[in-house]
């Protein structure tokens, strides 16, 4: 198999994952937050692929397909919700959506 040791990929995907998490916590725009969630999912895909290739069995690869389809479905639904919000409040800034508190 390729000579790059597995750890590099894992560190990369861990890094990608933490960037995704940081994006979700910091950014204000709903769409950007949603993109960061997608980033987290993709970092999981990368880990899965790495393990699958280094472990030699294909379960990881198969899993990645399912994750991708689910991510697609989630994207569709998520964007629909964000559009619905935009129609009502003319804004996508998460901080302004806080009718329900305490």
């Amino acid at each position: 198999m390729s000579s790059i040791p597995m750890e590099y990929y894992l560190i990369l995907s861990a890094f990608m994952f933490s960037v995704g998490v940081a994006g979700v916590l910091i950014r204000r725009n709903a769409i950007v937050v949603f993109m960061c969630i997608e980033l987290m999912l993709n970092s999981a895909n990368l880990t899965l692929v790495t393990f699958s290739s280094y472990l030699g069995n294909s379960i990881g690869q198969v899993f990645v397909f399912f994750v991708m389809t689910v991510a697609a479905a989630e994207a569709a639904v998520g964007l629909a919700i964000i559009i619905a919000i935009f129609r009502n409040k003319k804004t996508v800034n998460i901080d302004e959506i806080n009718i329900f508190k305490w």
């Binding site: 979700v24 916590l25 998460i94 901080d95 508190k101 305490w102």
Partner: protein
């Protein structure tokens, strides 16, 4: 006849129920009166029969018990509802039913026209029922049953005219005071009973006293039991610490004062002490305490009596002081003498109260003796009987008072010592003085009442006949207990009659010092002389020159006020005990402790949770980002735990 003794309690109870339940419907006063008096009269006859039957029996078989039913048997405690018929209880029952019967007859006349007539007679019968239980009881619990029962009846009867004023407060306040002070006494009595049960494992008289004589019990236990019992006695018989209720008990109708607060109830304490003579005898320290308290009460009460202006108050204080004499006798070991004095005192004190009652009746409820004067010619019968009773109480030789009082003074001298005799004699002198002050202010001298709307008249036959009978007994009553010095060896019948009861106690007591008859006669003459001079002095002061009394009272202004206000004992109790408890429990216990502290804590916890929840809910800011942050904090902690735990 002896085993019919339960009739003596059953009949008064029946009288109480009949008058109590149907009294309101039997409008006719005479019928109610007859029922009430008959109940007591028949019981008197039954007691008399039993007395005669017991007289017939040889000395050692004279105490037998009549068992009714077993009241309580729990664990080691077996209490039967039974009556003990022996010399002591017979003597007391004779006094209770005899004097009681006469007073019932008297009150038919006295209470004439009172709308609570039926209620009065039902309570009086209830009192006789309770008193007979007290006297006849064969164990401490039945005695206690009677003890509290008489306390209840005195409460009911003192507060009989519940809507009338009495001195500062109302009659019902006086009644409450009587009951509560009695209850304090009963508290001591209860503890005594518990200690007896603990040491002797029984409360039955026969068992307790036989074990008291035989068991090797430490003197301190006897002392404690005796002390507790004596506290009970002081509560009931109005001795030094707990005597404050008796003067206020005068709020009740006069027959009540005569029956309860002179003849019978107040002597319950003396009866109890003499019944438990063996216990007292085995605790010499407590004996001296009893004697000293008796003595102090006697002289203190006599001194207060000097200055009282209400006829019933004077008699009340005289009762307290005579009770002091009885306890003095018991304290120095002359138990039979104290019971003898109980009997004679019952006769003449009941007579004095009934006489005072007919005077008050005649003077339309005026009780201040300063407003009397010269009633001799208006009420001859009352005057004569009253005068005889006064002679008896002052201890003029030949009448019953002399014999019993002298016996007590002599045994005080023989056992207690000269100081006891001296104070006793002085008290006798004071008694003579205030009694004759009372007689002269009431019957002699010029009439100090305004004539137009007060015209005194002799009371009806209902009232005067009992007076005469009592007068007869006041004279004759003394002869059955003539002291040995006059009658020689076989003389004192009364002492002989009671001797078997006190044999175990006398055995424990130090024997009499060897005193000659000569000393006895000498002392007797000295005390009589003192009494006679006091009588002459009183007649002289109040008969001829009333202004001497004024000048004396002005000169010793302070002392006079002290006596007038009863050494301020009531006010002292009020300030020292009642107010602090009342104010303390109101201000501190209830308002602060209960409401503020405990409730405060409970509501505080509720408030804490409430405000906590108000505070924590603020975390929910509504912004999605903050939710994600909280999640991350959670995840970070989970990871931290993971790292730490590995």
């Amino acid at each position: 006849m002896i085993n019919l003794i339960y009739l003596t309690t059953l009949l008064p109870l029946a009288g109480f129920l009949i008058n109590g339940l149907f009294g309101r419907k039997i409008k006719n006063e005479k019928v109610i009166g007859i029922i009430g008096s008959a109940a007591v009269g028949i019981s008197f006859l039954v007691v008399l029969g039993a007395f005669i039957q017991t007289l017939g029996l040889p000395a050692e078989e004279r105490s037998n018990t009549v068992e009714l039913f077993s009241w309580l048997n729990v664990g080691g405690l077996h209490i039967k509802f039974a009556y003990l018929v022996d010399q002591l209880s017979l003597t007391m029952s004779l006094v209770v039913t005899g004097v009681g019967f006469l007073i019932h007859v008297y009150s038919i006349g006295y209470m004439h026209g009172d709308k609570g007539f039926w209620r009065f007679f039902s309570y009086m019968n209830l009192f006789i029922f309770a008193m007979m239980n007290l006297v006849l009881g064969d164990n401490f619990v039945v005695l206690f049953l009677g003890w509290e029962g008489v306390g209840l009846c005195s409460y009911l009867l003192i507060g009989f005219w519940y809507d009338r004023k009495f001195e500062k407060g109302t009659t019902s306040q006086a009644a409450k005071k009587a009951f509560v002070v009695n209850r304090i006494g009963d508290f001591g009595f209860l503890l005594g009973m518990f200690l007896i049960y603990m040491t002797f494992d029984s409360l039955n008289f026969k068992e307790v006293f036989s074990r008291a004589a035989s068991f090797p019990i430490a003197e301190s236990t006897f002392g404690l039991i005796a002390l507790f019992l004596f506290i009970g006695a002081t509560g009931k018989s109005a001795q030094i610490p707990l005597f404050v209720w008796l003067p206020d008990a005068m709020a009740g109708p006069t027959p009540v004062s005569a029956l309860i607060h002179a003849a019978t109830m107040v002597t319950a304490g003396v009866y109890m002490v003499s019944r438990a003579s063996i216990i007292f005898a085995s605790a010499p320290v407590v004996m001296t305490v009893v004697a000293v308290i008796g003595l102090l009460t006697a002289i203190m009460a006599a001194s207060i009596g000097l200055v009282q202006n209400d006829i019933k108050k004077v008699l009340a204080y005289s009762t307290v002081s005579q009770l002091g004499y009885m306890f003095l006798a018991a304290g120095v070991g002359a138990f039979s003498a104290s019971i003898f004095h109980v009997m004679t005192h019952a006769f003449f004190k009941a007579l004095l109260f009934l006489g005072a009652g007919s005077v008050i009746h005649g003077m339309h409820d005026e009780q201040n003796i300063q407003k009397y004067g010269g009633l001799k010619k208006y009420m001859p019968k009352t005057y004569v009987t009253f005068f005889i009773a006064t002679l008896a109480i002052t201890g003029v030789p030949g009448l019953s008072g002399f014999f019993s009082k002298d016996e007590i003074l002599w045994s005080a001298y023989a056992n207690g010592g000269f100081v006891f005799w001296l104070i006793g004699a002085i008290t006798a002198m004071l008694t003579a003085f205030y009694m004759f002050r009372l007689v002269s202010l009431t019957f002699y001298g010029k009439e100090r009442f305004d004539h137009n709307h007060v015209h005194p008249h002799e009371s009806s036959a209902w009232m005067t006949v009992p007076l005469m009978i009592l007068a007869f007994f006041s004279v004759v009553g003394g002869y059955i207990g003539i002291p040995k010095v006059f009658s020689g060896e076989h003389g004192n019948l009364f002492e002989g009659w009671l001797e078997p009861i006190y044999a175990p106690a006398q055995a424990k007591l130090a024997t009499y010092g060897s005193h000659t008859h000569l000393e006895e006669i000498l002392l007797m003459t000295v005390s009589v002389a003192a009494a006679l001079s006091a009588i002459y002095f009183a007649l002289y002061v109040y008969g001829k020159k009333p202004q001497i009394a004024e000048s004396v009272s002005n000169k010793f202004k302070g002392f006079y006020n002290l006596l007038l206000n009863k050494y301020f004992v009531d006010e002292a109790y009020e300030a020292a005990v009642i107010q602090p408890i009342q104010k303390g429990s109101e201000k501190f216990l209830w308002k602060i402790f209960d409401v503020k502290i405990i409730d405060g804590m409970v509501n505080g916890v509720a408030f804490l949770v409430e405000s906590g929840s108000g505070f924590i809910r603020k975390i929910q800011t509504g912004v999605v980002q903050s939710y994600a942050v909280v999640m991350m904090v959670g995840i970070a902690l989970a990871l931290l735990w993971l790292i730490l735990s590995l």
